[in-house]
Symmetry: C2
Subunit: 432 residues, 2 copies
């Protein structure tokens, strides 16, 4: 290691880690980017893979391909097993240890089942990885297949009931897309199943959908979903999920839904590395398990360690920043600049998130959007959907196949077709 050129280790190739690495590419730094996956995943479009609208390769790009020409960036496919902040070392699963001068921890978040991991995880898959998406796709498609085969009316009704737990953007988008598959895509393809009787139920614990948005937008999202045929139940707290269905506590009673298809979009839990970071530094974890970071995104007492993205708790104007891609990306670029600036001994200003807006899509051709510094400009409908599409495609700037995604989408939109409706996986799941 050259004394002048710092070795920067970045853990995680999501939005945060990728932004850091790109900012450091071809700069005065030696960068090692570690991820358990060989690809960066555009998570906001995972629900499209889960419902057969896009292929995994449309929304994922090999990390190596992104740094092909950047000789100062090394990509490692590996699993970080532990950190040693005292000795500035990252330990990998296979025993290898990497020394660092600066560390950027951007390991993201997994799914939280609020303490019910063992009972609910298998029954109600979440939507975080490509494997999750193809698993949900398989379950959705098999549900219709099973309904086609059964002679039992009650059983068929349960097979044709889809419950999505969690009314944030992922839950709203997934519910809307499943409704479209049931009422549009597979219409006319089944002879016995009566897919027009499909129920799609979205359960949300709080009083409204899309809690991060303005009330108006929540109401609009609800109305749009209901027009698509989705039943929206707010203030519904899931209590049990078993082979027969879901039981939730609702305002003034209990809701029981017989279903074989439950999908989870309710809770997130930061990477386990958050605990290691807190234990080895003076930093604390917030209630959600995120690492509370300093105003420059570093760990208390460890100015060479940055924690960014979904793992970090960063308060701005007395409120924590949300777990969104733009937050992670801005923090990543900030961390990269700070690392480079220190080499030149310049002070760095505190991090400040610039909110450029928030959007969620609700089925084909509809979305809600908030833009402006305080979210004061709000709109919905087709225009919001086009804005959503445009911005998401621009975000796919890392993806050499951005144009292909646009063509695929245009095609799907015009033909109402979902050509990626493949049931894959080694073993068939479910009752049949």
């Amino acid at each position: 290691m050259t004394a002048d050129i710092p070795h920067v280790v970045i853990i995680g190739g999501g939005f945060g880690g990728l932004s850091t690495a790109r900012k450091l590419a071809n700069k005065r730094a030696r960068v090692t980017l570690i991820d358990r996956r060989n690809h960066h995943l555009f998570q906001p479009l995972l629900y499209q893979v889960a419902t057969g609208g896009l292929s995994p390769a449309n929304i994922a790009v090999p990390l190596r391909a992104l740094f092909k020409g950047d000789d100062n960036v090394t990509t490692l496919l590996g699993d970080v097993s532990n950190l040693d902040l005292e000795n500035r070392q990252v330990r990998l699963h296979d025993g290898e240890a990497l020394d660092y001068d600066a560390l950027v921890v951007a390991a993201g978040a997994g799914t939280s089942y609020f303490g019910h991991e063992t009972e609910w995880q298998e029954r109600a898959p979440s939507l975080k990885s490509i494997e999750d998406a193809t698993k949900i796709r398989r379950r959705v498609l098999l549900a219709f297949e099973d309904a086609e085969r059964t002679a039992d009316d009650a059983r068929r009704a349960a097979m044709l009931t889809f419950v999505i737990v969690g009314g944030g953007p992922t839950g709203v988008e997934l519910a809307g897309a499943i409704a479209e598959v049931a009422y549009r895509t597979v219409r006319g393809e089944f002879r016995n199943a009566h897919v027009e009787n499909t129920r799609v139920v979205l359960l949300e614990g709080s009083p409204r959908l899309l809690g991060a948005f303005h009330d108006d937008m929540s109401a609009r999202a609800r109305r749009d979903l209901e027009q698509l045929g989705v039943e929206v139940v707010t203030q519904a707290m899931v209590e049990t999920i078993d082979d027969d269905g879901v039981r939730a506590r609702i305002d003034g009673g209990e809701l029981r839904i017989d279903t074989t298809n439950v999908f989870w979009a309710a809770g997130v839990r930061p990477s386990k590395l958050a605990t290691a970071l807190a234990e080895q530094s003076g930093a604390e974890l917030d209630r959600a398990g995120r690492v509370i970071v300093e105003s420059d995104c570093t760990l208390a007492g460890r100015p060479e360690v940055f924690v960014i993205g979904d793992m970090a708790r960063f308060d701005q104007d007395d409120a924590p920043l949300p777990g969104l891609a733009p937050v992670a990306m801005q923090q990543g670029r900030y961390a990269a600049k700070a690392i480079l600036a220190r080499g030149q001994e310049r002070p760095s200003r505190p991090f400040r998130y610039v909110d450029k807006g928030n959007m969620a899509t609700i089925g084909r051709g509809r979305a809600v959007a908030e833009v402006g510094a305080d979210g004061s400009i709000r709109f919905g409908g087709a225009f919001a959907w086009l804005a959503w599409l445009f911005i998401h495609l621009m975000y796919l700037t890392e993806f050499q196949n951005r144009i292909l995604v646009l063509v695929q989408w245009g095609w799907n939109y015009v033909t109402r077709n979902r050509s990626a409706r493949l049931i894959t996986g080694a073993s068939r799941e479910g009752p049949y």
Copy 2:
């Protein structure tokens, strides 16, 4: 069941079964098409999925989507466990039994490891399904990742050695595509692996590649592959495959190749239903296990049972027809016509295969082709490749996303990019 309208059960949604069903769509027949998969797969392009050039959805189409408007065709996702030819029944895995008036068995072929299934199957995956293709893709990509991580030179050399067993079209295409990935696609993406030292070895038991083609074309394919950097070894009989590599008997000695990557493209074995068909009729199986059928593609003594495609042994001009998609498709259309004609009590002529040619591709922009009644017109190079591309895209006529595949290919061709290079699958395989 109406006496006038026969119930036709078709087992298998491959090229043969699909052609039968399409020919019967909206005709005087009630059709039930059964497949274990929900999709028809364009197998000739599977090697492109295995090497990250195309996504699974580019070469697969949901069977239901193909018969959306055809009310007389019912698609069943199911596994046939047995046949009862005497009582004209097909039994499914879940106990359901279907009565038929006519049966078309088009269940295709799986892979044969020539009696070494238990030792070789896991070590040397074959290329028959989407899962096979993503498994091979994962292994190829992980081999480079592992080579990047190891410090052991001998181990790295074994990781960067790819052995393909079988010099038919699949083996030739897979070997050419892996060579392109190693020498073109991933060049510049690895810092330590020295991917330029990759070895790709194609082993063929007979004296030449592409045995179904003319000698000239075999020689040309070999030359083209060698120019791409593939080592071709003919008259090589594989004797062992273990964790360290492959041992083969060659002309005048023994060949030992240290490798962690062996792929199997050598042998096929007809569906197990062939045995049931033979046992319950007067028909015999040939040495390859195929059902020897009558001149009208029916089973001896069972004029209502057709056996077509890779499961059937049909001799024409004193030679068996090869296991190719066009053979299965022509037999499928013939069977459909024969079934409809019997309803009208017209005699049907014996089946006769019309050979329209044969082609195989050898890497980017090169192919070999034979056309004409006796294969007398033979050509190779870029023109053959364009012809190959055009004909394969025309075959994809069933696929609503044919244009998308063309765009994807054009993109890959121009950019030398393979954007579908995703390592997916629940668990990581291999030494690391």
